[in-house]
Symmetry: C3
Subunit: 329 residues, 3 copies
């Protein structure tokens, strides 16, 4: 979501395409960077790993992810958005997530799901434009807000439309007190560590998470290490406070901590000890917030998505001007 200065990053990328009239090649690079931007990486090689991870989770998820990125980027072209934003992949990642979320929550096999994925990606492009404007007074990035807004609306509305909803009774229910053991064995820990990365794309499989992590490391060594730190903090916080192990091992409590740690520790603040400590506090706070957001959405059938990451990072970034020890990139 932000172009980190390349000089400060140990990274590797695909060879840049020469300035060329061959639109399809340039568009392909923009697609890959768009998918990589879900984890802040404007890096086509990283995007290749992410595409592989989605296909590893299921060929339909790979197609949905590519389609959503293409629709979001294409809508930005049609509407005449600034080319630099498109080139960095900043117009594609929300469409990608909207399409993948549609597949996960509405079922990938229905024609209606493809329609909602495309329509949602178009609207996400409009909302991206809106948020760039609305957040300008604070020079704040848009995070995954367009994705969260569109995917929340689609999933909350879905049970009210018979041609969209094939999931039986609606999900709405009052939140309940946690039950079940919170103890984690080594296998659970390893699963949780990887799933915390994979759940950023709504995928719980450990090997999918590992592929995503590999992509981040290829693009930016420090960002990869920060993602690992965030995953550990998410697990430790959830375990220490007594979250049920079943949710922790699926990565449901830690993916927001990963995103917050990367955002504050490696992307939006100058890297250093203070920003790393700040990122650690933010990651722990995001883990508690994840459970609160899940309870908030329960009575009307919404999903947690990356709302906790957005809210935490928004407040922690907005506070930076008050704290002289921290500095925005």
């Amino acid at each position: 979501m932000y172009v980190t200065p390349m000089s400060r990053v140990i990274s590797w990328d695909l060879p840049r395409p020469a300035v060329t009239r061959r639109q399809p090649i340039r568009f392909g690079y923009e697609l890959l960077r768009g998918i990589a931007q879900v984890d802040f990486m404007p890096n086509a090689a990283c995007g290749l790993f992410f595409v592989a991870a989605l296909f590893a989770a299921g060929w339909q998820f790979g197609l949905y992810g590519l389609l959503g990125t293409a629709v979001g980027t294409g809508a930005a072209y049609v509407l005449g958005v600034d080319r630099e934003r498109i080139g960095a992949g900043l117009e594609g990642f929300n469409g990608c997530l909207v399409a993948v979320a549609s597949a996960v929550f509405l079922g990938p096999d229905h024609a209606s799901t493809w329609v909602m994925a495309v329509g949602g990606a178009v609207v996400a492009s409009v909302i991206t434009g809106a948020l760039v404007h609305l957040l300008r007074p604070w020079a704040m990035p848009t995070f995954t807000l367009p994705f969260c807004l569109v995917a929340s609306v689609v999933t909350i509305a879905a049970p009210g439309f018979q041609r969209i909803w094939h999931g039986g009774s609606a999900l709405a229910a009052l939140p309940r007190t946690a039950s079940g053991t919170s103890a984690l064995d080594w296998s659970g820990l390893a699963h949780a560590f990887c799933a915390n990365i994979g759940q950023i794309f709504l995928m719980p499989q450990w090997y999918v998470g590992l592929l995503f992590l590999a992509g981040i490391f290829v693009a930016d060594l420090v960002a990869g290490l920060t993602a690992c730190l965030g995953s550990v903090i998410g697990i430790v916080t959830a375990w220490a406070l007594g979250a049920p192990a079943s949710g922790v091992t699926q990565g449901l409590l830690g993916y927001n901590a990963v995103l917050v740690a990367m955002a504050l520790g490696a992307v939006f603040l100058e890297r250093g000890v203070w920003s790393l400590g700040y990122a650690a506090v933010g990651a722990a706070a995001a883990t508690v917030l994840t459970v609160a957001v899940t309870s908030f959405f329960a009575p009307f059938g919404g999903h947690t998505l990356t709302w906790p990451y957005i809210l935490t990072t928004l407040f922690f970034l907005a506070a930076v001007p008050a704290f002289p020890r921290l500095r925005r990139t």
Copy 2:
């Protein structure tokens, strides 16, 4: 909610009163424009049609509408608001809607309802002032936000007060999956088309909707056509996605689409093919959002009101600076 340049509008209005000391006549014009501003029309003749429509729905609704507009406009005078805003009717329409909503949701026959209508209209004036200030950094109009805020608070709080609430058990319930046929016959289509206009004032009767539509056409031919387009898009979207026909024929799924289509297609953007297409996308999005907002409000007994219109138009207008093909009026 916005004075469209008269030169570009095919319209008819009552003869303007000469600049005069006769306050009651000027105040009467301001009342009529205030009611007409619910549908963006700063036009006294249009206001006459709207008053007629409210009385056609029930004499009490007519009185509530006039009272609310008068209280809102009067409060603006007392507090010393800018005269130009008052003259355009911009200080009256939220009070009008607050009073009508009180009558609809709390029952028009109770003395307590009149008290809430008056008190709510006063507070809506304050909130109008607040939102003008809060939204200034983005040069954003206040839409029907003051109405939605006040009416939401009043209706959600009402079951907690024994002297206000005469409706039996509270409305709060978990949202459920849609059931019932989504097929529409010609009669249902005609009802839905008119009710989509009438529900902007919370009225489901087809003839009331027709009177409102006539008022819009009198004030502005293009705005009337855009309202029709919005109504059609609302019906088609709801039917295509499988919304139950019972809600569609009552206009419950389409009134936000009408408002969005008018706002983006005829009022806040320069008219043209691009803004019309943009308005169509917005109207379809607002139809989905309507169902999501209804589910969101269900567990604590709130009403959908025009929240979906406000949210959709806010984001679609805020995105305009990013899209060179569109321009604000």
Copy 3:
């Protein structure tokens, strides 16, 4: 939350410490002012009364309050916040409330509650910094927003963590229609009057409320009278609209009215007849809003806290530029 000009206030305070290197004494003054700032009073003597009131409610509440204020103020030092804000107590009051709320809602006797109180106070410091920045375009104070955000998240998330939650089944429930008499006898009136002051710190005992009121009067005679006015308006509004007497006597319907009356009548607006009338309208509106917010939070187990005060004061202050008869201090 705002330093009222001392010249216009009939007040008494502890002797100011001479500029000194003795950090502990200065920090002690900052603690007392931090606690007093919950009711807008940058006054150490007032803080002494407030500490006494908390200890009168229970020795643990006193300790939690002091701890939260110390952590909030300390975090501000570590992060390098502006010394003037710290000196006025503006960095301590949210931490104080977060810690007291943790004790009230999670049980004061658990080690986990102390952990949440400390962690919450740290995060409240960050959020205070963020809100100062986010609200700057409107020159708006942060009110108790950091407290409300943190305490809402902690209490909503708590039932999801087995080591934090010791309260049996979760609180989430659909809101129900009011039942029980709304008639108040003299004893009930007196209890309600005092409890409306005490509930600002979440304390329902009448003698605790009286001690808080005494502290306000010591700091600022007019503010004390305005608090009394707010308490009366809260009771009258709740009774007139038919709120059940059980809630009114516990102060649950009136504490937001007290805060709104003080904020608009004595702290943020120039004092006078118009601002007092404005404060009275705001206090009545806040009483209705209190019930709406309570219903809103019910399905996911949140608490009302001082959200109604924040929302009411935010809108009523934002509207001031539109009304020439009112002026910000």
